[in-house]
């Protein structure tokens, strides 16, 4: 797409689209971070109990009865996957931020009431959130 003939509306639209994508990424990261935190808490709890204890794991609608020592490695692996996913998303977020800035400079877009990287802190601040369904209480 050549952008020499972009109208003002189209520029704004493109900009908003990028911003929306950035926001979606940030929310996704926050979700994953909280998921990661939840995994951490559960792993911690399981590490403190006997490995032979009965423990259930839910996989896509199927609850399988296992033991703690069987579930723990699966959980750790899962956590690692989430971690690398978060890393990937974070990279994407950084790239998106760069793209956004480049777009801003190129089309001379000014944003009211916000400065350059006002979006960034969100993903960091949300890291200690956790879903309410479990019995564990987060800090």
């Amino acid at each position: 797409m050549s952008d020499k003939k972009l109208t003002k509306e189209e520029i704004v639209e493109g900009f908003n689209k990028l911003r929306q994508e950035q926001r979606t990424l940030a929310t996704r990261i926050a979700q994953m971070e909280s998921d990661k935190g939840e995994h951490g808490l559960v792993i911690e709890a399981l590490e403190q109990v006997n490995g032979d204890r009965k423990c259930y794991r839910l996989v896509h609608g199927v609850l399988v009865e296992r033991t703690v020592k069987e579930v723990l490695p699966a959980l750790s692996q899962n956590k690692e996957q989430i971690t690398s996913y978060v890393e990937m998303l974070t990279k994407q977020l950084v790239d998106k931020g760069k793209a956004l800035n480049a777009y801003r400079v190129k089309h001379n877009v000014s944003v009211r009431g916000e400065n350059g990287d006002g979006e960034k802190p969100k993903s960091e601040e949300n890291s200690n959130s956790k879903s309410a369904s479990g019995v564990l209480v987060s800090n």
Partner: protein
């Protein structure tokens, strides 16, 4: 809050910085490292946004706790009851929440085991005694967390007020300053 002093106690509110209130704007600017008024305004604005972000997070946390607490309380009550009939041959009948508006009936044979949902798609089996301990502990923790979240929110609200007042002051001061500057240049022009 014990609140027995006339001075605001600077309790540690988990990393929430205190907003400062200064009467003398010029002095304030000097304290901030002799920055321009615009810079100071921007900084305050930033702080304000940060407070807002913290508020959002705290409110989320509060919401979560408010959901969790009654659930923990019910779990605790039920397990307490199970403890009281443990060892007898009492079968409990329950009408449990299946989905939406739908409840179904089940009989719970005498049991020494309950399962607690830990999160991350994992459920752990507990003896009744143990479950009682875990639930009790988590219930108290959740309540004290809610309490501290509420206090943090209150504290945050004060920081909002202070920052708002400071913003207004700085803004007014800035306007006055500019007007004064304009007046002097106009004055010198006309001379």
């Amino acid at each position: 809050m014990e609140g027995d002093s006339k001075v605001v106690e600077s309790k540690p509110h988990l990393g929430i910085p205190e907003a400062v209130f200064v009467e003398d704007v010029a002095k304030y600017l000097k304290e901030q490292g002799s920055c321009t008024c615009e810079e100071a305004l921007k900084k305050l604005e930033e702080n304000y946004q940060k407070y807002k972000l913290m508020e959002v997070n705290l409110l989320q946390k509060k919401q979560r706790l408010k959901q969790q607490i009654p659930d923990l309380k019910s779990s605790l009550d039920i397990v307490k009851h199970m403890k009281s009939i443990e060892g007898t041959d009492t079968t409990m009948t329950t009408n449990f929440f299946l989905s939406g508006a739908l409840h179904a009936k089940a009989k719970i044979p005498p049991t020494k085991e309950v399962c607690l949902w830990l999160g991350a798609n994992v459920m752990l089996s507990y003896s009744i005694e143990e479950a009682l301990g875990v639930l009790n502990k988590n219930y108290t923790t959740a309540i004290s967390h809610l309490d501290s979240v509420n206090k943090d929110l209150e504290y945050l609200r004060d920081q909002f007020t202070t920052t708002e007042v400071m913003l207004a002051r700085l803004y007014n001061w800035n306007v006055k300053q500019r007007r004064a500057a304009k007046a002097t240049t106009n004055g010198s022009d006309s001379k």
